[in-house]
């Protein structure tokens, strides 16, 4: 399931939805990204996330479908917020359930790694020294490419 929203989400509620009533679930892996209060030497006041409605959902659905094809999963979830957030706020949650733990763990890692470079979001940080756009990081590109199979990297 994909959710793109301004509202916060509840990790307990979301993880319960993935597991309750399905007793074939052996493992649930999840990752939650939060707004940090520091960017380099600057302290962050707010982070505003802009996205491309329509394309965002398509990209997240593609990433989710890719995970379900590669791993043996029972369910997956991607929640991504947009709008103006403050330090400590949750930005994103990805989760996967499976019968055996390695599928859940690996696919969860995959989901967040691909989302970093393939989901059309842009982040504007307001700091004590003014506003600036968060730049794409070379490490994120490397993390993305770690999951590319046989040169296949469906954007």
């Amino acid at each position: 399931m994909i959710k793109v929203q301004t509202e916060d989400f509840d990790i307990g509620v979301e993880t319960a939805r993935l597991t309750d009533g399905n007793n074939s679930v052996g493992g649930l892996a999840c990752f939650v990204g939060l707004v940090r209060d520091i960017a380099g030497d600057d302290s962050i006041e707010t982070m505003t996330l802009e996205h491309y409605p329509g394309m965002t959902e398509r990209q997240l659905e593609k990433i989710e479908a890719e995970a379900r094809e590669r791993w043996n999963l029972l369910d997956t979830l991607i929640i991504h917020r947009y709008g103006t957030l403050a330090p400590g706020d949750r930005i994103v949650m990805v989760a996967a359930t499976s019968e055996h733990r390695q599928d859940a763990l690996e696919s969860c890692h995959f989901l967040i790694d691909w989302l970093k470079t393939k989901a059309p979001f842009w982040k504007l940080e307001a700091t004590s020294h003014g506003k600036h756009w968060v730049e794409a990081r070379a490490e994120d590109r490397i993390s993305e490419e770690r999951w590319v199979i046989g040169g296949q990297n469906p954007e």
């Binding site: 802009e50 996205h51 491309y52 329509g54 398509r58 970093k116 059309p120 842009w122 794409a136 994120d140």
Partner: protein, 83 residues
């Protein structure tokens, strides 16, 4: 043709979208960006470093060689920073 701008491309353009007829002689994204850069200082400023511009045609990520047509939705933006 519907053009959409995001991130600092949007800021430099001073707008988030515009409708435009496909300029003459434009067959692909690269041609389109070249044609846009001639339209004024804000376009030149936003599209100056083509290596920093990413493109989606009809909400599909693609590259500078992708064909464009007059009924396309074309988005220009900086590298994505999801998550």
């Amino acid at each position: 043709m519907q053009l959409l701008y995001f991130g600092w491309v949007r800021i430099k353009m001073g707008k988030d979208r515009e409708n435009m007829d496909l300029p003459d002689g434009v067959a692909n994204v690269r041609d389109l960006i070249e044609a846009l850069r001639d339209r004024g200082a804000e376009y030149e400023e936003a599209l100056n470093d083509i290596s920093m511009v990413r493109v989606a045609v009809n909400q599909e990520l693609t590259d500078l060689d992708a064909a464009v047509a007059n009924d396309d939705e074309i988005a220009l933006f900086p590298p994505m920073t999801g998550g």
